[in-house]
């Protein structure tokens, strides 16, 4: 009975210790990355090729999702439309919804799956097949060879992909809304510009950069610390996608609170 009474305490203790271990390992990885920045001859060319791979590889899914998201946003706006409002408001509604929220968050979540799973699986496999040990045994830093290029590539490419997604989604929304309501090009364009502030674009880019950094760092961390063969790689990949998605939602909340309600 006494042992059973202590089980919840043990569970909480393990949870806290596990959390602290993650914080410790993540801090060590952060310090490692900081030190690795000096080896720019190593990470710079790898970053360029990694960024090209991430950007080109993700383009199709980004175009597909943003096109559908823009069109569906337009159809839903049409469905809920009240005739007492001027139609140019639709331009505002669709543009602002996409640029402030839908573009960065939707693309962030999709790329958390696509890029995050890839990074975690790659590094996890390298860990369990001793490729990371091999790199260290050659006196080379895994941070500058493997992690910095991946974190930088996702941090730099996510804003680029989000800009493309924003443009495509607004375009699809523009075309879509004309199919369901009597909106002219002039109405949409006027509405899109009426409430537009340059900060809106910056806000979208800040969010995309933060999401890209989170995806890269978390996925590399999970893969780098993978254990126990194929099962460990599977677990680290799942953890990378789930954790990246949760962090994206948290960052989205925090950035909205900090940047939009100043």
């Amino acid at each position: 009975m006494a042992a059973a009474d202590f089980l919840p305490l043990r569970f909480i203790g393990r949870l806290v210790l596990g959390g602290l271990a993650h914080v410790g390992r993540l801090s060590l990885l952060g310090a490692e990355l900081f030190r690795g920045l000096r080896e720019w001859r190593i990470w710079l060319p790898r970053t360029v090729s990694e960024a090209a791979s991430v950007g080109v590889g993700s383009l199709f899914i980004v175009l597909l999702i943003s096109g559908f998201a823009g069109a569906v946003t337009a159809f839903q706006a049409g469905y809920q439309w009240q005739t007492s409002l001027p139609v140019y408001v639709l331009g505002t509604l669709i543009t602002e919804t996409i640029i402030l929220e839908l573009g960065p968050v939707l693309i962030g979540l999709v790329l958390a799956g696509r890029i995050g799973a890839r990074y975690a699986a790659e590094l996890g496999t390298m860990r369990v097949t001793e490729q990371i040990d091999a790199l260290e045994s050659l006196g080379r830093s895994p941070a500058s060879h493997l992690i910095i290029p991946r974190v930088l590539a996702s941090t730099l490419m996510l804003p680029v992909l989000v800009v493309i997604a924003d443009v495509v989604a607004v375009g699809a929304g523009w075309i879509g809304v004309k199919q369901v309501l009597p909106v002219t090009d002039w109405d949409f364009s006027y509405g899109a510009q009426y409430f537009w502030r340059p900060f809106d674009a910056w806000y979208s880019l800040i969010k995309a950069t933060a999401f890209g950094w989170a995806i890269g760092l978390i996925s590399c961390y999970m893969g780098f610390n993978a254990q126990q063969g194929a099962e460990g790689v599977g677990k680290s990949t799942t953890a990378a996608v789930v954790t990246s998605s949760v962090i994206i939602l948290l960052l989205n909340f925090l950035l909205a609170r900090i940047l939009l309600n100043r």
Partner: protein, 250 residues
């Protein structure tokens, strides 16, 4: 010289090394024997600092490995070539890039002309043709992957070579090829070698001295003759199991 004194290591509840003492003198080849899961690879990884002991001392050339700073450890590792069990080749790179990464001197790594000639030389030392450098690890057989792993380990002209199960998973003919290669490299490069293996036959062919790791400690360290004459039941059981043809009957 490599010196381990009272090295202890545990993973969770499992004690893997329980106060191990182990020495390797310069120029000799020592085979570390032991059953699977006895901690041989763990011991090897302590020598080049891939693992840190919970207690005890690990010295290479008089330097206390666990106490070294990051830069000092990286410098030490350039003097220690490590051959991994399954090659641990970088599968996104071709053989040339894999071996080139073994060039520990950065100026030599960036000198493409030097790198090309050194890669060809290392491939020759492991009995592989220059054409192999264009292949990717997935295109190589198990034996070739091991040999490329050795070529990468010797590319930086190390003083020490640590082999982790170099013949495991190979047929007897290919295992003999790797054993011959280990002996050949010792003669040609004058390296000090530690070979972790459970292949007793290969160990007796290659090593100047043997050590048996059993139940987290070294139970015997000596020449092949001393091993043959040992009356220790653990040593006898290990040797007889490997040499007794009836053990393969099943």
């Amino acid at each position: 010289m490599i010196e381990l004194r009272g090295v202890r290591k545990r993973f969770g509840e499992q004690i893997v090394l329980g106060g191990v003492n182990f020495d390797v003198k310069e120029g000799e080849t020592v085979a570390l024997l032991g059953p699977s899961g006895s901690g041989k690879s763990v011991l090897l990884k302590h020598i080049n600092g891939l693992l840190r002991p919970d207690a005890g001392s690990v010295k290479v050339d008089g330097m206390e490995v666990p106490a070294l700073k990051r830069s000092e450890l990286a410098e030490l590792r350039t003097r220690i070539g490590y051959v991994f069990q399954n090659g641990a080749l970088f599968d996104s790179m071709d053989v040339f890039e894999n071996i080139r990464l073994g060039l520990s001197d950065d100026s030599k790594y960036r000198d493409l002309e030097y790198a090309q000639s050194r890669v060809v030389e290392c491939l020759r030392l492991v009995n592989l043709t220059p054409e192999t450098q264009e292949k990717f690890p997935a295109q190589l057989s198990g034996g070739m992957r091991k040999r490329v792993g050795i070529a990468r380990a010797i590319a930086g002209a190390p003083k020490y070579l640590l082999y982790d199960e170099p013949t495991s998973g190979l047929d007897p003919v290919n295992a003999d090829v790797i054993d011959d290669l280990v002996m050949h490299l010792e003669e040609e490069l004058g390296v000090t070698s530690v070979m972790v293996t459970h292949d007793v036959r290969g160990a007796f062919r290659v090593a100047d001295r043997l050590a048996l790791l059993y139940d987290a400690t070294i139970v015997l360290e000596g020449t092949p003759e001393e091993f043959r004459e040992s009356t220790d039941p653990r040593v006898k059981a290990f040797l007889e199991r490997d040499f007794d043809p009836t053990s393969f009957a099943a």
